[in-house]
């Protein structure tokens, strides 16, 4: 049962909250809605389930306009897990989950589908406190109870508003695994507003970036989560890389400041773990960094992947000379404004041959004086200002 959002405009109290929003969610797909606070993510979900009537545009669920369906009919197609789990009455967990069966129960009949309720509670890990008062649960436990309630609703479309907001690390993953599985094995169409970009990238098939009530970008996480899109939507500077553990896109927010090295293109020569502190400092300062050559699996290699720098790697125990890695590195160096070379890295075989002096070269380390291949020698914690200074002076070679 697909959900199609077309040209959606929403105004609340005279203020435009959503502006011409389009989205399409297919069966078996998990779509994440990401965006800064106040971007309209919750409003979008509330318009999708019919709570808010849009001023223009349509939300079609399996071809029918949600806002034309009765609330009972709509709730058989779309289940919603609300953001704030404020349950003030002393119902038991089981009673709350049973409320999910409301749309399937006739006024004077009793719903006999206790199996659905049991399954929903088992799946979300709340069965163990089925008999407890919801008011006695923690916020995270209550959030899982509300997920169970939505599962009991057995609707083909599931909307979740910040399902992991008040959960600990363990339950964030467990909840998203359940949600992922609902899309994969039950073919439900799932939309989740998710704050955490890494979690969103890791679990969602597709992301919709919403900011200022508009869709900035939509598509596969890797194509959507670029530094430029995130800067436009969140007004934040980030490094986008690959998480070595999950292989998913990972977004690292950087301090928002302009430094001496900002917008400077720097090539860092790797070696074991000596380039890692240099790369971190330069990326954080806003420099555009490339790395290489590094040995596959070394700390420097992981770091480069984590912060999303272009990186040239070589297999362990291979000679660097005359490999494609060497020519790729030469190209990176030629394109850079400055090269930063940890003293330890320069000692690796084959590296010295790359340092021709055509580009201003900075040695980084604690050695006594500047090596003959470098223009300057600085300690690691001064690398940012040194790069800035060096980039401004035209190179005249060694």
């Amino acid at each position: 049962m697909t959900l199609d959002v077309t040209g959606l405009d929403v105004e609340l109290a005279g203020t435009r909250i959503l502006d011409d929003v389009h989205a399409s969610i297919r069966d078996g797909h998990l779509v994440g809605v990401v965006g800064p606070n106040g971007a309209g993510k919750s409003t979008l979900l509330r318009a999708m389930n019919g709570l808010i009537t849009p001023t223009a545009g349509t939300v079609l669920v399996a071809g029918d306009d949600v806002h034309a369906l009765s609330s009972a009919a709509a709730s058989r197609r779309i289940a919603t897990v609300p953001q704030d789990a404020s349950v003030s009455f002393e119902f038991t967990v089981r009673q709350v989950v049973e409320m999910g069966r409301h749309p399937h129960t006739t006024r004077f009949g009793t719903d006999t589908d206790t199996a659905v309720v049991d399954r929903a509670m088992a799946r979300t890990g709340v069965a163990q406190f089925a008999a407890r008062d919801v008011t006695s649960l923690s916020g995270g436990e209550r959030q899982r109870v509300l997920l169970a309630r939505a599962l009991a609703q057995a609707a083909p479309v599931l909307l979740l508003d910040e399902p992991t907001a008040s959960l600990d690390v363990n339950h964030q993953i467990r909840t998203l695994e359940v949600v992922r599985d609902l899309a994969d094995s039950e073919d439900r169409a799932v939309v989740a507003a998710i704050h955490d970009l890494d979690l969103a990238a890791r679990y969602c098939d597709e992301l919709v970036v919403v900011a200022d009530g508009r869709v900035h970008d939509a598509g596969a996480p890797r194509s959507v989560l670029t530094p430029d899109t995130i800067r436009a939507a969140f007004d934040a500077r980030v490094a986008v890389g690959t998480d070595p553990a999950t292989g998913a896109v990972t977004v690292t927010p950087l301090p928002d400041r302009t430094s001496a090295a900002a917008d400077t293109s720097v090539h860092v020569v790797g070696g074991g773990d000596s380039a890692t502190p240099v790369v971190r400092r330069l990326v954080s300062a806003g420099a555009s960094v490339s790395v290489g050559p590094v040995v596959e699996g070394d700390t420097d290699h992981e770091t480069a992947r984590r912060v999303g720098c272009p990186c040239t790697s070589v297999a362990p125990f291979t000679r660097l000379e005359d490999t494609t890695a060497a020519s790729a590195t030469r190209a990176d160096i030629a394109a850079a404004d400055v090269i930063a070379v940890p003293v330890a890295a320069a000692a690796r075989p084959g590296v010295r041959g790359l340092l021709t002096g055509a580009v201003p070269t900075l040695a980084v380390g604690d050695a006594a004086g500047a090596p003959e291949w470098a223009d300057r020698l600085v300690a690691c914690d001064a690398v940012v200002s040194a790069v800035g200074a060096l980039a401004d002076t035209p190179s005249d070679g060694v």
């Binding site: 509330r46 349950v87 003030s88 009455f89 002393e90 119902f91 129960t105």
Partner: protein, 369 residues
């Protein structure tokens, strides 16, 4: 969910037994003590079952309209199937004097308690009671106007109170409604404002009432004095039908407790349900207060106390509240009857109710409603 119905039946049976016991014991108490056995036999003798009904057109005298207005009157024929040969004095005392008052008391108590339970859940506010939407203050204006200005308000105290109650409730609702939505907070506040306004009107009428001040004050505090079977015949059907409708919406009320947005996503037509609950609870309350006056505290403490014992599930809460409310008001009225000065029962309910309520609050650590 079967378990919920089983709990509802078990608790209702227990509350029903309590109610019947209180009714019978109450009927033994009075200036002329009568044994429980005689009371039981007299009550069964009095028991009448409808055997037929006819409608006749009457002409109701109205000052402006010459010749009066045609008015349909329903006459129901009753037959008493059981006869026990109770001594005539006892039969008259129990059957004609005490039982009508006791049964009306039970009816009024039940209606106040069930509407109180509904409105507390509706407003998600522990301080809500049937008077919150202006029903009681509207009824008070109608009743006091009929008592103090009988030449202006010609329709009699009870119809005037009933009309006043419904007009006030509708006004509160209309003020709070905008674009088809009735936000609960707005409803609560407009109820408070309308209550204050109507309270001023009532006070004005009372101050200028001259020698009618005593009946007016009795009505305002709530009294079951002088109740007759025809009062029961008028009030009971309204309360029974209204309560049945409210019970049919018990599950929606449970879901509404999760909040209106959640209720909507769980398939409840929130605005329609709120409108219906408010209308039915208002009519049920209006039926009670127009016969017994503005009896306070029953609609507030009975649902509260019952909720502490049986929990918030309306499928259990509503029937048990109704039965317990009936028993509570009959017990309070028995105390009023047994007191030499026969104070209005509203004073007794407040005297018993307020300390009991405070005890519950202190003892049970009430966290939420």
């Amino acid at each position: 969910m079967r378990e919920a119905s089983a709990r509802a039946v078990a608790w209702s049976a227990a509350a029903g037994v309590l109610l019947v016991a209180v009714l019978l014991v109450s009927a033994t108490i009075g200036p002329e003590p009568i044994t429980l056995r005689t009371v039981a036999m007299a009550a069964l003798t009095e028991l009448a079952v409808p055997v037929g009904a006819s409608v006749t057109m009457h002409t109701h005298a109205v000052p402006v309209v010459s010749g009066g207005l045609p008015w349909p009157a329903l006459t129901i024929a009753y037959a008493a199937p059981l006869q026990f040969g109770v001594p005539e004095t006892a039969q008259v005392i129990v059957g004609t004097i005490r039982l009508p008052r006791i049964v009306l008391g039970a009816t009024v108590g039940a209606s106040l308690a069930i509407s109180g339970a509904v409105l507390q859940g509706f407003f998600r506010n522990p301080m809500a009671d049937p008077s919150i939407v202006g029903v009681s203050s509207g009824a008070a204006v109608g009743a006091v106007a009929a008592i103090t200005l009988p030449s202006v308000v010609v329709i009699g105290v009870q119809p005037a109170a009933f009309a006043g109650a419904l007009i006030a409730a509708f006004t509160v609702y209309a003020i709070a409604t905008k674009n088809g939505h009735t936000p609960t907070a707005t409803l609560l506040l407009s109820g408070v404002a309308v209550q204050t306004l109507l309270g001023a009107v009532t006070s004005f009428l009372v101050v200028n009432s001259g020698r009618e001040i005593r009946p007016a004050m009795y009505w305002l505090m709530g009294t079951l004095h002088g109740s007759r079977w025809h009062d029961v015949e008028a009030a009971l059907p309204v309360v029974v039908v209204g309560s049945a409708v409210l019970l049919a919406y018990a599950r929606e009320m449970n879901v509404l407790l999760a909040g209106e947005e959640d209720a909507h996503t769980l398939g409840v037509d929130v605005d329609r349900t709120k409108r219906l609950l408010l209308a039915v609870a208002s009519v049920v309350t209006a039926a009670a207060v127009s016969f017994a006056g503005a009896i306070g505290f029953v609609g507030l403490i009975v649902p509260h106390a019952v909720r502490l014992v049986v929990g918030p599930d309306h499928r259990v809460l509503l029937p048990v509240s109704a039965l317990t409310g009936g028993a509570f008001l009959v017990a309070a009225d028995t105390v009023a009857r047994a007191t030499a000065t026969e104070p209005p029962v509203g004073i007794i309910t407040a005297l018993i109710g307020a300390p009991f309520f405070l005890y519950l609050l202190r003892d049970r650590e009430v966290r939420a409603l």
